[in-house]
């Protein structure tokens, strides 16, 4: 639950732009890597000081600096000072409860997105915030933890295949966003599998575990929807943006990502409906079973309660109880009993209970 709501990182009324990391301190060792490339050159190195990257400012190459831990406030501050970034934007980077958004600050662009993983251990979706800052010739990607979905992009840069090195930083940003959106499909597939498994048990064995699973899947879907929904608007703003930092050729690619985003949102909506449908079917299914149980109870009771009464009658000790003396008394008793049971059963069959 706590992942849903997080305060925006500062005490009430604290001056905006005060850089405080909001979130749990996780990794002691910040991990920074830099890819520097152009059509001709390519270099990959680990950075120990972010200033190393600034030194290359005059180079016309594309520089992608990936920072694995955004809780090191000083790195963010250094980048901010170097490129004269707005304090509110720096605050946004540090606040990991950000809503996906795109801000165009004229001289640089800021994009914040959520990476989603399916955590096999806790059986839950985990979310990691990534901020992209696009400064001329530089792309900064700032993540919460180590580990990401960019490995394929790195491979393409290393191999130089499919001309990615010929393109500018805007294409790189596209490629990174594309990788993130692709990773959503994996998460949704996981949920699809779970729903498929539930479906089988839903009508035939509607027990407490099924209910628990429906309940938690619905929460996962609510969480997912909230993370992905704003993406649509983000990518749309990117497409409609007239920033000189984004080349017109890129728009076609962004539109492709946009289509994928719509498809993901559609799919989430479908699962929401399917789960709502399952919940309703679950309740109907339970009512159905209760109904079945009640029928059995009622059939047993309606047959045996009158008979037990009759047996009770002839177990009475009245001195003058003429039937008891009859020779055919006991036989008659059984005849009556069987007749009662027979007519009861017929009655229930007529009512379609049997």
């Amino acid at each position: 639950m706590s992942r849903v709501v997080k305060r925006t990182g500062k005490g009430i009324g604290v001056a905006p732009g005060t850089l405080i990391h909001v979130g749990n301190k996780i990794n002691e060792n910040v991990h920074m890597t830099m890819f520097e490339y152009s059509e001709e050159s390519f270099q990959e190195k680990t950075l120990y000081q972010v200033e190393e990257a600034f030194a290359l400012k005059e180079n016309p190459t594309v520089k992608w600096i990936n920072v694995d831990a955004i809780d090191k406030v000083e790195i963010i501050e250094k980048i901010g000072n170097e490129f004269k970034l707005h304090p509110l934007m720096l605050e946004d980077i540090l606040n990991t409860a950000q809503r996906p958004k795109f801000d165009d600050y004229d001289d640089y662009l800021y994009i914040v997105l959520k990476m989603l993983y399916y955590n096999e251990k806790s059986n839950e979706i985990t979310s990691e915030q990534v901020s992209f800052v696009l400064v001329p010739n530089y792309v900064f990607s700032l993540q919460e933890f180590e580990g990401d979905v960019f490995e394929n992009v790195r491979e393409r840069l290393r191999s130089g295949k499919r001309n990615i090195r010929k393109t500018g930083p805007d294409y790189l940003v596209y490629a990174l966003i594309d990788a993130i959106v692709d990773s959503y499909f994996a998460v949704i597939e996981k949920i699809a599998d779970k729903i498929d498994n539930l479906e089988a048990e839903l009508i035939d064995k509607p027990d407490k575990d099924v209910l628990k699973d429906i309940h938690s899947l619905k929460r996962e879907i609510i969480f997912l929807r909230n993370s992905i929904w704003p993406l649509r608007e983000v990518i749309n703003s990117l497409i409609r943006s007239d920033s000189p930092l984004i080349d017109e050729n890129i728009v076609l690619y962004l539109r492709d990502v946009y289509d994928h985003t719509i498809q993901i949102i559609d799919t989430i909506e479908i699962y929401r409906e399917i789960l709502a449908n399952m919940q309703e079917t679950y309740i109907s299914s339970l009512s159905n079973r209760t109904n079945e149980i009640m029928k059995i109870l009622t059939i047993f009771s309606a047959i045996f309660i009158p008979l037990t009464f009759l047996a009770g009658v002839y177990g009475m000790n009245f001195r003058y109880l003429p039937e008891l003396e009859w020779r055919i008394g006991y036989g008659l008793f059984w005849i009556i009993s069987i007749a009662v049971a027979f007519f009861m059963l017929r009655y229930f069959r007529k009512k379609k209970w049997l």
Copy 2:
């Protein structure tokens, strides 16, 4: 379920435009046919090499090439190379989990739609993706499997009736889309029949099978809606498109298809509501039956439980139990029993349980 979500065909972060077929390999033998026609001429032939079609590039005739299997990547690549199609578009053709859409690439148009069949065997709706590429003088239609809903269009081309041969490739595209939209009506009729059958049993015999049917019909409707809904936007974009590839005369025809699409969407919405209504009625109906059953159980219990107690009392073996000695004891017992039963029944009648 798995039909709802499919990954967009590539590993996370793989370069866009990498042509990988996403889907199951189905048919070994690609089946390609070409219709070449103009006002004067008509020719129908099976193609073994897609290059055969390119040879006719200079002819002013309309050429419709239908490819029955989109998993042969090399055919798509050849077409792409010949007409300089954008790699992202080729990727879209191969990805069978595409959302219906229309892309205007200036020199050519790309339309992707879903054909829907009612599979009588599995009792389910199956969906097949069709891509249309409209290049000057060429219409490519790329399907997933053999078998389609275009037979009538082919007949009209062969017979040359109703002047279809006098029109250009844009009219052909319209005719193919129209055939697809018409096929949706058949699918909806199938669902309508099923709902009609359910309706009869709903209130009088609300058992588990009814529930199962409602549940699966609701899923079918969710699936249908998702497939057809984007169509509206697709055809609308086509109508509003100012592409030179689409003649103004065609717009009137497209508007007609648009009206049909709206009608289909309306109908799906109605069935959604009707099914929601049926689910509610199902639950109400079950509650009603449980209520009936409870009444019977309670009436039996309320009458016989006190009487059984009374019989139990006079079955006790107390040495001093004066009533047992009375001459009228047994008669009195019956009188009391019948009186109790009578007043109970009157009470229940007053409560309108009988």
Copy 3:
């Protein structure tokens, strides 16, 4: 149900504009009437050949031709040929599963609407499609069956009161639409009455019939809403149309019809909500009754089951069962029994079950 979905009249992929009547053949004898009028003249006659009407083409009078059966394809074809109407429009006239719509073909206007009647016999709403074609000086109204809601308009034409004869064909179209919209109120009133009757039984006697009625009323409302909802857009398009065939003075009258349409749609929405409310109350009401029944069962059981056990104990035949020998045994038994019953009743009263 079958009234909700009908195929659009042709085999899949059949050429558009092929005139095939979609619907059941009903009346053998087409009934055609013509009203010809101007400020000075008035004439009403039965037509046997539609060509009789064409002969008056040069007259500046208004000519209203009403055709009672649209399944006579040749009449539609003749009108189409005479006035050069678009084949798609002719197809629409013949297809009785049309959605209400307004098409402006520059030289003529096409409006299709639904007349709704309350069928007292089948206790259902029936729907009849009417198409209006407005050609200069001509109004064609094409219905499915004999019988309509235009009798008042005819009376006004005959009597010449309220200056209707002074106005043009556009006012006539307005008057006919107005008559149709007015007829919706009658249908809604019928539904209102039914809902009123249900309301009375809802809480006090929530039985199966009430459920059936709610269920079918909800379906009626879904059907109604679907028929009337598009009307809003139709009349709005008429108002905003800049066709020379519609005089500006008519707009004020059309706006009045528009207001009525909105009022009808509002009312339908209200009944939808009221019915949803009734369904919920029905379920609550049933739960309430089941609860009541359970209480009675439980009270009886909780009092008599322990007492029956006690009676059973003293009916046992143990040789050594000391209480049986006590003089006060039987009296004591009754005292205990009454005490148990008394405390049980007090307990249930405390729990507010009594």
Copy 4:
């Protein structure tokens, strides 16, 4: 119910503009009052003939004529003739089932609203239609019955306080609308009180009366919403109107009324949600109680049914039933009985039923 839907006052197809009063004839004696005022003068008089007001046409004073009964068709006709009002508008005045609306007829404005009262006797909201016609220097307010919410406005006119006499007829219209909107708050407060009272009983004593109250409150809210919702649009059109009859200074006041309207609509929406919430809680609450009742029944049954069986066993008359001869038989019976009861109770406690 019948208050929701009323036919728009004429037979189907009757000529529009035919003046027929739609509603029940209520008051025999029409009551007409006129307030005539300017900055210097003030006069209040009862009118017996509406023509008395027309005589003052040349006076630059503001004249407010309030007519208490709109079923006197001739008064409406006279006003219509005098000021050349459109017949459709006169028809609207007479039709008391009008939807709140604002029509700008250039030379005069027409506004129709609903006054709502809480009828203490029938415990229901009653609705009365008021039409305002704003002609230069004249304001006509036409009500259904005697009695309204304008008493405060009259007082302000009489006392001349707060400069109301210095303002024109447009301010008067504003003041009257404001009085109507204010009166809605009183109605909503009434509903709020009822909901508060229900809340207390909802969870602790969810009986049939609570259900009835929720049901009828929901209907009241549906009715209210329908009456007030269009008001928003009405006042908005007034604000955006560029009619010379409405001074720019008045817009600020109208905006204030608009804010109040939004607040009322918000509040109604909140109560709708609260009532939906209450209905759900009611059902949950009932299920909860049924569950409780079932537990008690089951506990009693599960303990005593096996014991009764055991007592029955030793009440059998088999000749050879060895336990009956045992000295400790009876004691053993009790020990077993108490043990069974004890373990049963422990089992139920473990299941958290106790």
Copy 5:
């Protein structure tokens, strides 16, 4: 409940602009403070007469006057007279049932918002209205009670850190709004905690208290949503406002607040959905338990009722009852009993009840 609806403070039809405080009189001693600051100077003082602030009108410093009690009508009147504020605005300040809104009166701006606190004692959210009036060089903040969320802003003014003193009154208004929006996060966190606690008990122990908590949380959410939702529009109007009183530099900050507002609204919607989900799960959970209980009752009944009947049979006193004489009678009875019980249990196991 009463917090939801309050009349807008005046009798029906009372002249607008009549200053009457609507609300409960709370604090006898109005508490007024003034912060006067510029880049160089800073002064904080308590005001006893609001006129003291007016004296500084010519100073170019920013003056923030905070009034803790808006029920002192005369203070509002004095401010109104001094700055020529519109009477309708003054009325709005006094009416504590205002909807959050922003009014641009050209020469001054009026903003009204809700501060929300979580009241630990009553375990409820309380709401306090704050009005901001922005006059050149002056910011008036008018609260209902003492105590607010502005302490941090005051600290920053006192310390002069982060350049707040260098900015104008528009920045101060931003800072105050930001502090209010930040305080909403605290309220939402409180609700998140409560929901987390409920979640644990929901499925395993769905008792009456859980229901009560869900019910009241849903009401809190409805209340919250209503208070916060209009904020979005308010801040958006501020951003789009072209008032000279708001500097362009401030827009970036306001956009930041806007983002926070959207995030809060998103979160509230999520909790609404989660609570709806919980309510559904609660009902399902209850049905599940009732089902379990019924199973136990039915198993007990179905096993013992037939056996009790059998025991009753052999407790009958018929003179001729042959089985009673059999040597193996009693043994046979037990064999039959155990067999019946065994088959019953197997039947129930087959039905998956065990």
